[in-house]
Symmetry: none
Subunit: 200 residues, 4 copies
């Protein structure tokens, strides 16, 4: 269709089309033809840039992960108290989820499902999860060092905290009408911070 774009831009174009289609239909429900139509390229064109459907799925997810990680890292750099950073993070991430990620939430959920079943996907997921947990663990360790938090196991607590937010997104994805994700997240942070804070 459009001729001679930079190959990376073509890939990007395909990834975006695929993401839109996957969000609408799920990885396995979506067909290559759907992606063809959404992308405006031809069947052969897709296969020139990606060698299989799984390849496209993987590319979509990688892109998704790195976008999320970038954002988190940025917030963690800010010069705030640990408690404050946690609040920020929550506010920011949930606001993102509600706004722009909304459309891609389905992909997110489906990826958990697929990852739990298939090795190659799981490995990619693990890398991401571990980075995420690592960041939280550092933050928590910092909190203990500060004496903002009481002594706790940093890694376990980090996992717990990650789980808390993934879980909230999960529930909200099922019932966005009744639930206010931002408000719930704030309640969760409040309880968490109260639960780990050092009584003086």
């Amino acid at each position: 269709m459009n001729k001679r774009l930079d190959p990376d831009m073509r890939k990007q174009q395909i990834i975006e089309a695929a993401a839109a289609v996957f969000a609408r239909k799920g990885f396995y429900q979506a067909s290559m033809d759907d992606i063809v139509q959404e992308s405006g390229l031809s069947k052969g064109g897709l296969y020139w840039h990606f060698k299989s459907k799984d390849d496209i799925v993987t590319a979509v997810l990688d892109q998704f992960f790195s976008a999320e990680m970038d954002e988190i890292n940025e917030i963690l750099m800010a010069p705030l108290s640990v408690s404050e950073k946690l609040r920020q993070l929550v506010t920011q991430m949930m606001a993102d989820t509600v706004e722009e990620l909304n459309a891609y939430l389905n992909i997110w959920l489906e990826f958990y499902a697929v990852a739990a079943r298939e090795g190659s996907f799981r490995d990619r997921m693990l890398v991401y999860m571990q980075q995420f947990i690592e960041l939280f663990a550092l933050l928590i360790q910092q909190g203990m060092d500060n004496e903002e938090f009481r002594p706790i196991n940093a890694r376990e607590t980090a996992i717990t905290l990650t789980a808390q937010f993934e879980g909230l997104i999960l529930l909200w994805a099922i019932d966005p009408e009744t639930m206010n994700l931002l408000q719930l997240a704030e309640t969760a942070v409040d309880i968490f911070l109260e639960g780990v804070r050092k009584h003086t």
Copy 2:
């Protein structure tokens, strides 16, 4: 193969076969032929008892839900302090998850993914989630009435708590080797209980 079972037992037989197949391959990856093979029945036999593949999926999930709800209800009836009940619940549910539910975890995750995308599934999911949240909310209300807990919004806290456990299961499903689900759950309850307890 086997002839003339009680119709309910046949349905049960099919549901179990289907659950096993779904756990292995996922709802959409699994074919009716897979279920045929696993169940030992014929294609037509399956369709005699269930009118479509979706019908089987739904039956598997309903069964799954009601089993879980039964167990939870049982624990909630026990004559314990609210904090103790919460600990019990966690210990019990996570132990279950690790042991018997293990095989069906994949189904669980995939159902979240599908539910976020398709109405009929979502509705079933909502009913379950609401029951679950409701139970937690009651427990928390009880905790406040007891003066075990400080004044908090019971429903929001219940959602938060549900999210915490669903989230933990989610993460653990991806990385069961490194994570100790029971231990993590206990850490989570500790923090939670500390976070909501009334200081005297």
Copy 3:
């Protein structure tokens, strides 16, 4: 369902149900389950009385033929001039077609289609057609003997006449809204009678 009817009545019950279903869906579109439902009997019950679906189709058609032949014979016995008999026949048969046969017209048409393709059906059809033509031929011969008609080949003319009416029913079946079958049939007889009448 109902118990112990006379076997012939059971057969009749099945034939009627089948006729209704076939009219609605066609021989091949209709399933045995459709007939089961319409008849109120069970699957096994149907197969007790008829050994196959084709058997039921055949029975429906035989019944259909003999009903039509009876009616025609009756009219031919009446003490009228040949021209008058022809008019009567037409009036009667077309009125029947419009009224009661209406529902079964589809069967009629489909049977032609099947008969043109399959031996066993064709043979049954032939017997009926030949009887029909034979009757017309006799009538026409009578007309010549009477000197109502000019000398013509009785058999060929009979076939021609049969074709005329079958053809009218055919066209009308496709477009019953615009066509008035009775009127058309009268026009056809008029032209025919004028075409064969002896000028004196």
Copy 4:
């Protein structure tokens, strides 16, 4: 099998294969696999050019109709008396039927059956029938204007005439051994022309 034909030729190739199969087995008895085999294309290839079995059926019939209409139109253009044109038409059409259409007669008959039952097919059939009747009506009107024919209702007579020929084909399709279609058609035209001719 063959690669890269002109798309229209491919469609034509499929239509011809399908027509052959339908003639042999009927629309509903024929399977897509039969057409695949007859056409030498693959399953996917068929579905690339036609989106469903019904689509193929429709294409076969459209082609069939237009071929027939072309031929008729040609004859009607000839500079002959109306009576002569009618004779020509009959001779030509019946000769065609006997020769080349022979193989496709079954399709013709089955289409009547299906058309009487299903809307989309009926509509296509109606268009064709109306064109056909229209042509005859014009011819008859011409005959009256010429004073070849006595005053009659042109449309009704046209329908009658159409019915006469469709009917003859119908009967002949059931019993081609005993009947001489050409001869019968001539007898029919004779009687018809005598029945409508103006006595001077």
